[in-house]
């Protein structure tokens, strides 16, 4: 009888072996499937502003493109206004609580987002910074325009416009203590302060509000009738002064170089009120943000810093193939 059991046992062992083999194959395939796609990585993308700014729409577009390509699930969220730092902090904390596989963040404040970023780091969620960084070592990677270089570019353009004659230049910035604005201003100052004859009358903060920048410019024109140039450090801070110059009849006399793009800026460029603008690549930022996040989730090594570059747009090159898509990112109305 025992011999019989032994035989039966062996048979059962054979069966079990086969079953185990099948299970193993199944698991292997399942696992391969999992790492290959079905268990999609979840990525939360937190932008600075979710309502109207074209920049962030294009950014989100790039992020969606990468999500499709790398088979990730992404949600793009952000405060209504980029000055709503508290709201963004709250969003960040809520995102950490949802435990996504990675977070891509464009910080509205260089310092105040740090604690929330640390929470993400403590929770083991890879954090990728895009466009605007924070004062922390937690982020795995920082994907943005090299704003110092972009500032230097626009500073160089202003220096060119002044054609060596020098003069007074004002810098219209947006939200103080934002990392991007700090870098851009540094870049601009790096160049202009080294240019003989150029005098920087000051940096003025528009808080990213066009109206404020407009009025600020009119004030400046009164205060400094011999103002030779204005450098705008973001879209609102470029369009506001542009409109002010147009309205004050100072177009051409006061040179204007700016940042970013919009229909308003395109018009200002066409009219010749604005001489040049430096355009970033928000699409690439969004794309690379998500791509890098996916790489970080997979445990691949990601670069600490990725410069998405900036393009100088003037009236002469604005309708070139490469630039059209940057200035007019959307085909529909």
């Amino acid at each position: 009888m025992t011999a019989r059991f032994g035989r039966l046992g062996r048979l059962l062992a054979l069966l079990a072996l086969a079953a185990a083999g099948a299970a193993f194959c199944y698991a292997a395939v399942r696992f391969a499937d999992l790492s290959g796609g079905n268990g999609k990585p979840r990525i939360t993308v937190i932008i600075k502003e979710s309502k109207s700014m074209e920049f962030w729409q294009v950014f989100a577009d790039g992020a969606e493109t990468a999500a499709k390509e790398f088979d990730a699930d992404i949600e793009v969220i952000g405060p209504e206004k980029e000055t709503d730092i508290d709201e963004q902090i709250a969003m960040m904390e809520a995102a950490v609580a949802r435990k996504p596989d990675a977070i891509v963040l464009a910080a509205t404040d260089f310092n105040r987002l740090v604690p929330a970023a640390r929470q993400a780091g403590d929770a083991g969620i890879p954090l990728i910074m895009a466009d605007s960084g924070i004062n922390s070592d937690v982020p795995k990677s920082f994907i943005a325009t090299d704003n110092v270089a972009a500032g230097e570019k626009i500073g160089g353009l202003m220096a060119e416009e002044l054609a060596g004659r020098g003069g007074k230049v004002a810098i219209i910035s947006y939200v103080q203590w934002t990392a991007t604005q700090l870098d851009r201003e540094r870049g601009v100052r790096n160049v202009l302060e080294a240019t003989p004859g150029v005098e920087i009358v000051g940096t003025f903060y528009s808080d990213g509000i066009e109206r404020k920048a407009y009025e600020m410019t009119l004030e400046l024109l009164k205060e400094h009738p011999d103002l030779k140039g204005i450098v705008g450090l973001n879209e609102a801070s470029s369009v506001g002064p542009g409109k002010a110059l147009r309205d004050a009849g100072a177009a051409g006399r006061v040179k204007l170089v700016g940042f970013d793009s919009s229909i308003e800026e395109v018009k200002l460029l066409e009219e010749g009120v604005m001489q040049a603008t430096v355009v970033q690549r928000p699409f690439n930022m969004g794309y690379l943000g998500v791509k890098t996040a996916v790489q970080a989730i997979r445990g691949e090594k990601v670069p600490r810093v990725i410069d998405t570059g900036a393009v100088v747009i003037t009236k002469a090159n604005m309708y070139e193939d490469e630039n059209q898509k940057l200035l007019f990112p959307f085909v529909g109305e």
Binding site: L15, A22, C25, V29, A32, G62, E69, I263, D321, E333
Partner: protein, 640 residues
């Protein structure tokens, strides 16, 4: 069966079945996999090609629409007259014509959602648009636009632009595809440019909805390498992505595959015929992704089939091996000693045959065993008989009587001789336990016996023993010759008138030893002769009791080839021939070895060693030995 590791036939069968099935399943799966892989791939390629054709058809429809509209415009009477002589027209009339043209363009546009605008730009600076309130962008030079320049250079041919932003209207930056051609008078001089703008978003919407797998996409490149449409245009322009535009431009319609490892793509190209190329790009790894799903189902189904197969093979092998197992169990019973076993014949032929053979075998074993028991019984009986023959009490009384008479007659020397012969006779018969003894011992024994008999019957008996000394060490069964000699004396010589001779010879013939005991006595008739060797012979006559026993013992010991044979002729004599195999002392292992010690033992027992020696001596000279006669003792013996 060495390669099958299991001991049980059932497990082995199951394992064999399972591996057979496994092999088949694997082979089939592999083939199916290969076939379906290539099928999937071909389907994917066909699908892409079909999709690209579809896109081409759609794009062509739009472009053909633009063509139609441009022809429509050119054939319009007002437009024709406007071309023919706009500069010669009076101002009023010209304005009127322009308004009618604008109206006409507007009416076309109302029915066409895909057309953004229709305009005529005269070389003289005039401008007619579908929109009556159209304001041109003052900061943009119309003549600087590429569609304007290209149309002018094309000399009346249609020019289709790439997708671009149309900046010519104030506050309007639409993405369009422009069709432009020069308006020419009949003499071929150009008067202006006709521009038909197609809303690019109709194409864009159509193109973005195309699904070419997770990552696959469609793009359109114009003949000069500009991307008309690309879902990742910005990535391509900024160099984050490379697009094989050069390869695409070099090739007409068709497809090619890039060699980028895991990122390998298949490009399917379709030439639109008006300078654009539509390219479907699909990732090879996504076909592999499909393949993975296929792998999964294949593995799942395969393992399911395998499990079923294993279960089946277990069941099957159990069913097949059950009769064998049953047989095996019965065999084990037999092994334990139970011979009363019967295996019911199975329905299956081979196994049934096996069972029948087994039954037969068991029956035979049983039969043989009982036979052995019977033979042993018989053997024991005949040994006993032999022993009885040896120590025949009548013989003893008669011999003792003879000794007494001799002693009374003061024949002391004869008394000594007879007594010592008697003693030796009994000593040799007491040496039991060994079935086989040296022939030498047997000869000694018969010599002693004959010595006694000759002394008793005096002149009536004479004897001669001639045995080849070479066979003296060979073995034989005990008390072989005594019954024969006894028979010869009592039935051959005693009844003869005068003296008789018993002649014993022993020689080796081949591998046999042949003894002959011949007497010249009264002989036997045929009937007695026929009866003598039969075991029941003694019942008919006293004669033969020992003889038949000797014959039976020889045959029991050595087989049916051996035994006794009688030749006899009445009044002439009888010769009995004894045939036994020649058994060399060492071949008779046990018997030979134990024969010697037993003799030594005898001497060491302290039983008159001298007497033994003397007996041996006297045996050799027994021919001339003293004789004695006693009719009474003979009678007594006979009456036994």
């Amino acid at each position: 069966m060495k390669w099958l590791p299991f001991k049980s036939i059932q497990t082995n069968m199951a394992a064999a079945f399972a591996s057979l099935i496994l092999l088949t399943v694997l082979l089939l799966s592999f083939i199916a996999y290969r076939l379906s892989t290539s099928a999937v791939r071909m389907t994917a390629e066909d699908y892409t090609a079909e999709l690209v054709r579809q896109v081409n058809a759609n794009i062509r429809t739009y472009v053909d629409n633009m063509h139609t509209i441009s022809s429509l415009a050119l054939n319009n009477r007002d437009v024709r007259s406007y071309i023919a002589g706009a500069d010669s027209m009076p101002k009023e009339k010209r304005k009127e014509t322009e308004e009618r043209i604008s109206e006409f363009f507007h009416s076309i546009l109302i029915s066409r959602k895909d057309i953004a605008s229709i305009n005529i730009f005269g070389y003289d600076g005039s401008f007619v648009s579908d929109r009556r309130d159209a304001v041109l962008n003052p900061y943009v030079s119309i003549a600087g636009q590429s569609w304007y320049k290209l149309a002018k250079a094309a000399d009346g041919d249609v020019v289709i632009s790439s997708s671009h932003v149309q900046p010519i209207f104030k506050d309007e930056y639409r993405w369009v595809v422009s069709l432009s051609r020069e308006l020419q008078r009949e003499d071929g001089t150009g008067v202006g440019i006709l521009l038909v703008d197609l809303n690019f978003n109709v194409m864009n919407d159509m193109l973005t909805q195309i699904d070419l797998g997770q990552r696959g996409y469609v793009f359109i490149v114009s003949h000069d390498g500009n991307l008309v449409y690309h879902p990742q245009q910005q990535l391509v322009y900024s160099g984050l992505k490379s697009e094989r535009v050069d390869d695409v431009l070099r090739q007409g319609s068709g497809s090619f595959m890039t060699d980028e490892g895991k990122q390998s793509r298949i490009y399917t190209i379709q030439d639109t015929g008006f300078g654009w190329k539509i390219v479907g790009v699909s990732y090879v790894s996504e076909l592999v992704g499909n393949k993975r799903q296929m792998d999964l189902s294949l593995v799942l189904w395969g393992s399911f089939c395998l499990l079923v197969a294993i279960a089946l093979s277990v069941l099957l092998s159990r069913k097949l091996s059950r009769p064998i197992k049953r047989l095996q169990e019965r065999m084990r019973e037999v092994e334990r000693g139970n011979l009363d076993i019967y295996v019911p014949p199975d329905s299956q032929r081979e196994i049934g045959l096996l069972a029948r053979t087994f039954n037969m075998m068991v029956a035979q074993i049983k039969e043989l065993m009982s036979q052995v028991v019977r033979e042993q019984e018989f053997k024991r009986q005949s040994e006993l008989n032999a022993l009885q023959a040896q120590i025949n009490p009548h013989f003893l009384y008669n011999t003792l009587d003879s000794i007494i008479w001799m002693a009374e007659a003061k024949k002391s020397e004869e008394v000594v001789l007879m007594t010592s012969a008697l003693a030796r006779l009994f000593r040799s018969s007491i040496s039991k336990d060994q079935e086989l003894v040296p022939i030498r011992t047997e000869i000694e024994h018969i010599t002693n016996y004959l010595t006694i008999q000759k002394m008793r019957y005096k002149h009536k008996i004479d004897y001669r023993i001639e045995v080849d000394p070479a066979i003296l060490d060979c073995r034989t069964i005990k008390v072989l010759l005594q019954p024969l000699v006894e028979n010869a004396i009592y039935h051959g010589l005693k009844n003869k008138y005068g003296s008789g001779l018993i002649h014993i010879t022993g020689e080796r013939i081949g591998d046999r030893i042949v003894f002959r005991v011949a007497d010249d006595g009264v002989g036997m008739d045929e009937e007695t002769l026929g009866r003598i060797l039969r075991p029941d012979g003694r019942k008919a006559e006293g004669r033969g009791i020992g003889v038949a026993n000797v014959h039976a013992r020889i045959q029991l010991h050595f087989g049916r080839d051996f035994g006794l044979s009688y030749e006899s002729e009445p009044e002439v004599g009888t010769t009995v021939t004894v045939t036994i195999p020649a058994i060399e002392p060492d071949a008779g292992e046990h018997a030979a070895n134990s024969g010697q010690p037993s003799e030594t033992e005898r001497r060491e027992d302290g039983e008159q060693p001298g007497a033994g020696e003397r007996a041996a001596d006297s045996g050799q000279q027994s021919e001339a030995g003293p004789a004695d006669s006693d009719g009474a003792s003979g009678g007594k013996e006979e009456s036994r």
